[in-house]
Symmetry: C2
Subunit: 275 residues, 2 copies
């Protein structure tokens, strides 16, 4: 007799029910787990050595270009593999088109002390970011600009929301992401001589008027509310990005992009040469 092709074929299976429950934050946080689904994001987690717990695999759905990734996953020591059929995959997937892979991974929380800071760290502090997609988009641009970490402050942010991981395109696994209170962050920045540069529509400086080559934390608020008075009062500098059209703000990830790449520009030894 041949082996059964699938470990799970019933939508009523308890593990299927457990997986579906992990779509809600309360259940993810209680189980201290998260879900990773996009092949690219799973690959980034693997590359970063992030611990993975269980792989739900639907072999009929695996596209040829993802076979190598599946082989890498099957080689991970301690990663349980559960083969499921297509109806089960569709049920547990949170994407519209399930691509045959779903990984359950532990929530690995980090604290500020664990940040690996070089001589002139470049950090991003986000206050009150609510939408997982926005946090993910900031992580992606922070990765692009080589930032040393993203600190989420103000509580309530669902760091391990699968949409954070997805929107970050896996940058979640390469850019250390830490949640901490305002007081803790301020103390941390001061004790490490990291200048806090807060963005504000009524700022003292233009974004390109200040030096960003030293240890710097770029502090961004929500689109609607901006930064709290606490941050604005306690930041070392306030900077504004000019709004030259009709709108009054940029999205938080585009604001982060403008400031982070201004830091990259200033930090680069190659000089701008406008012709």
């Amino acid at each position: 007799m041949s082996e059964p092709r699938f470990d799970i074929t019933s939508l009523q299976n308890d593990r299927v029910k457990d997986l579906v429950r992990l779509r809600t934050r309360r259940d993810r946080d209680r189980a201290e787990l998260t879900l990773i689904e996009e092949p690219l994001v799973i690959e980034r987690a693997l590359d970063a050595g992030y611990p993975l717990q269980t792989l739900f695999l639907c072999p009929p759905r695996i596209a040829p270009e993802h076979k190598e990734l599946v082989d890498r996953l099957l080689d991970v020591v301690g990663l349980e593999c559960v083969r499921v059929n297509e109806p089960v995959m569709d049920k547990v997937s949170y994407r519209e088109q399930a691509e045959g892979l779903l990984v359950v991974a532990p929530q690995v929380t980090r604290d500020l002390a664990s940040l690996d800071l070089g001589q002139a760290p470049l950090l991003v502090v986000l206050e009150g970011v609510e939408k997982p997609g926005n946090l993910g988009a900031v992580l992606r641009v922070a990765d692009g600009a080589g930032a040393d970490g993203v600190i989420v402050c103000g509580g309530g942010t669902d760091l391990f929301n699968p949409n954070v991981l997805r929107a970050s395109r896996g940058a979640f696994f390469s850019v250390p992401t830490v949640a901490a209170s305002l007081d803790t962050v301020l103390e941390f920045l001061k004790s490490h001589n990291i200048a806090s540069v807060a963005t504000s529509p009524v700022a003292d400086h233009r974004w390109d008027e200040i030096g960003l080559t030293g240890p710097t934390a770029i502090v961004l608020g929500t689109e609607h509310e901006g930064l709290s008075g606490d941050w604005l009062a306690q930041a070392d500098l306030t900077v504004g990005i000019p709004m030259l059209g009709r709108g009054d703000s940029l999205n938080v990830s585009t604001s982060a992009a403008v400031l982070l790449y201004e830091a990259v520009r200033q930090r680069s030894s190659r000089k701008a040469d406008p012709t």
Copy 2:
């Protein structure tokens, strides 16, 4: 007898069915109409003098902070107002929480010749952008940076998708948006002496090494494919944004933000003064 409070209370009303149909592109394009729903976006359309055809209004849903907007709308000459009850509003709204306003507006298409170009125009050309949210996000940052227009090229883009308007936060109405073929765009740029600056991961220059103070069109491709060979071969310059982390690209709106604000920086008379 008092006037009836609502013009439409039946979900079976033909106008309700017509409105629901406008959620699909085919029906929007056939009717040459689009839908605007967020109060802020409606306000921007009003500010820009964009023609509006019909206002579907659900008075019980109007929040106090939007009453002034409703008054402005009711003053617009030629704008039909249809009062609907809450079940009808929920049915026609494409948002989860209908806020009591939905405006039907004509699709006003523009061509390149209609662009109002100053001495040193700053344009964005997007090739093959598919997601309405991405186009909207680019429009928002183009508005912030004071760009003179966004040209969408490569066909297929659903310019009047309500999600373009929404994601743009109304910048769709302040930044002229034009669809045109590659050949038409190239000819237009050449005839107006506008330098095309194409982004590429294998570029000749860093983004901050080239002059962006003259007439400039920043050309961006899709995240997955990048720009086509045609654009890369025919652009005047290619520039790259360094990717210093693990990811290999930025989102198109963050790429646009980095390049557009580098142009703003260079064009500003105030000089950067890194300390």
